[in-house]
Amino acid sequence: MNMLKLSWKYLIAKPLNTGLNILLLALGLSIITVLILIQDQFENKMTKDAEGIDLVVGAKGSPLQLILSSVYHIDYPTGNIDMKDAKALEKNRLVKKIIPLGMGDNYQGYRIVGTNHDYLQLYDAGFDTGKEWMKPFEVALGFEVAKKLNLKVGDSFVGSHGIGSSSHEHDEHPYIVTGILSQKDNVLDKLILTSIESVWYSHDEGHDHDKFEADVSISGFPDTEEDREVTSLLLQYRNPIAAVQLPRFINSKSALQAASPSFEISRLFELLGVGVKLIQGLAVAIIIIAGLGIFIALFNSLKERKYDLAVMRTLGASSIQLFVHIVLEGVILTLLGAILGIVIGHGFLAVLVMQNEQGAISGLSAAVFLQEELWIIAFAVIVGFVASLIPAWTAYQTDIAKQLTKS
């Protein structure tokens, strides 16, 4: 027998009460766990995906939409821009590097993005098998795309029009897989990458077999005299002055819009922040109710237990031991609640991720444990300690003789 076991025995003597308190606390803490997990991974992922991209240029519209569609590939593009305008930008002395993107097609919900090999370099992407695309209609698959769709190098497939899964297929031009990227845990995992030319040709009427045999552009813009469009451009600044001048310069030009990923993302988090704060508030309210529940349960049980406490004193327990006995009950309760809460939180996230295979959350992992979760446990234990202080103090002050003589 020891203090821990004694408190435990008293807890399991009331399984319903104990279970309910643990569950309530676990519920509040699981919400916090999910929030922490999502927030941390989301921010990490968002920052990682936008690394190296100073500015995104696209058609006029919502700057946030432009960023979401061109950097994170989760929203629809704002439209296309004329390649002449894009090429003019390439000559600007403030631009260090420019990567064109062409979008519009998908295969089974995975976006087909036309770009050049600079895009791969931007994310420092390597290949698991195969190599980069060199000819039109050759594609490299993101790690997850290859895994989920079970495609290998040499396989071919037909893309469909549109960004989401749907509509009519471009059946005349099958894509051929030339490479599969290694896992990067970023946006590349979910993309099908090809050349800008592939995207153009798949939408062209008629076949021009000479074009199909020519090598595609590896860096910069495709060399063509035709009137062509791209969807958006990823830019790197040459120097800090560019950050001041370039966006203003581009936005003042009628057809184009420039948006900074870091600015838009912090704006997005600001917008989401209201919702997150609301949920956080709810979680804190639940935790406070759970703490009150524990307090009330301990306080009520104390009424029935004054006799037991007095008996313990006659058996040699000191006042301090009784104090510890009650505090331990609160702390054991909340410790179990915290552990259960974290387990529920991770389980909930796992289910969430499983159900959203292609959405924005799909890149999250439930198997990540953060340092903040230790803080959750510490926080819960503090709640238990505080909730049991008054009952424990009452126990500390139990007048043995009075308790035992009044029957």
């Binding site: 025995k9 008996v311 040699g316 301090i320 003789a401």
Partner: protein, 210 residues
């Protein structure tokens, strides 16, 4: 071994108890009789160190009980004084054996004799049982076993037979006497139960208020 001298206690200025001097050696028995309100439970509480007397001296096994305080007093009580109450007061979340072990734990004893004790009191088979499955008589025997778990020098029993039938009452008194002898402890029983009178020859009758 036990010597009580000049003990005075008062709940308030109008209600004053004068406790008769008591002197007992190991193995002695004493029955304190009196009507309710005569202060006999108060004596028991003072002897058990549950109440502090205003004046006087209690010497148990060469320790001045009335001078001990706080945790020191609690440990001394747990180790040297076994108290049996009118109601058994078994801690319900614990099994019979765990109730004994808890008594051992609080004073740092090993409790090697617990199972023997339970055997002698005829409740060995119930050692894993919870209190709510015990009969009144069994529960009272458990409370006796628990009072004896740390081999006390003094056994105090407060109306131990009040809620028992004749047969059980007799058994409980006999067990208390046997165990007190065996542990070489002084036994003090406080009661108004006339059935107990014949079993113990040494009586102290409380007159009531002084």
């Amino acid at each position: 071994m036990l010597s009580v001298k000049n003990i005075q206690f008062q709940y308030n200025p109008d209600l004053k108890f004068q406790v008769p001097d008591i002197s007992m050696s190991a193995g002695d028995e004493l029955l304190i009789l009196g009507k309710s309100g005569s202060g006999k439970t108060t004596i028991l509480n003072i002897l058990g160190g549950l109440l502090k007397p205003q004046s006087g001296e209690i010497l148990l096994n060469n320790t001045k009980l009335n001078l001990l305080k706080g945790a020191e007093l609690d440990k001394f009580r747990g180790k040297n004084i076994g108290i049996v109450f009118q109601k058994p007061h078994i801690l319900a979340p614990l099994t019979v054996e765990e109730n004994l072990k808890l008594a051992n734990f609080f004073v740092g004893e090993k409790g090697d004799q617990n199972l023997n004790l339970l055997k002698e009191l005829g409740i060995f088979d119930k050692r894993k049982a919870k209190v709510n499955t015990l009969s009144e008589g069994e529960a009272q025997r458990v409370s006796i076993a628990r009072a004896l778990a740390n081999h006390p020098k003094l056994i105090l029993a407060d109306e131990p037979t009040a809620s028992l039938d004749d047969e059980n009452a007799q058994a409980v008194i006999r067990l208390l006497q046997e165990q007190a002898k065996k542990h070489n402890a002084a036994l003090i029983i406080v009661t108004h139960d006339q059935r107990v009178k014949d079993h113990i020859s040494n009586h102290l009758i409380m007159g009531g208020l002084s």
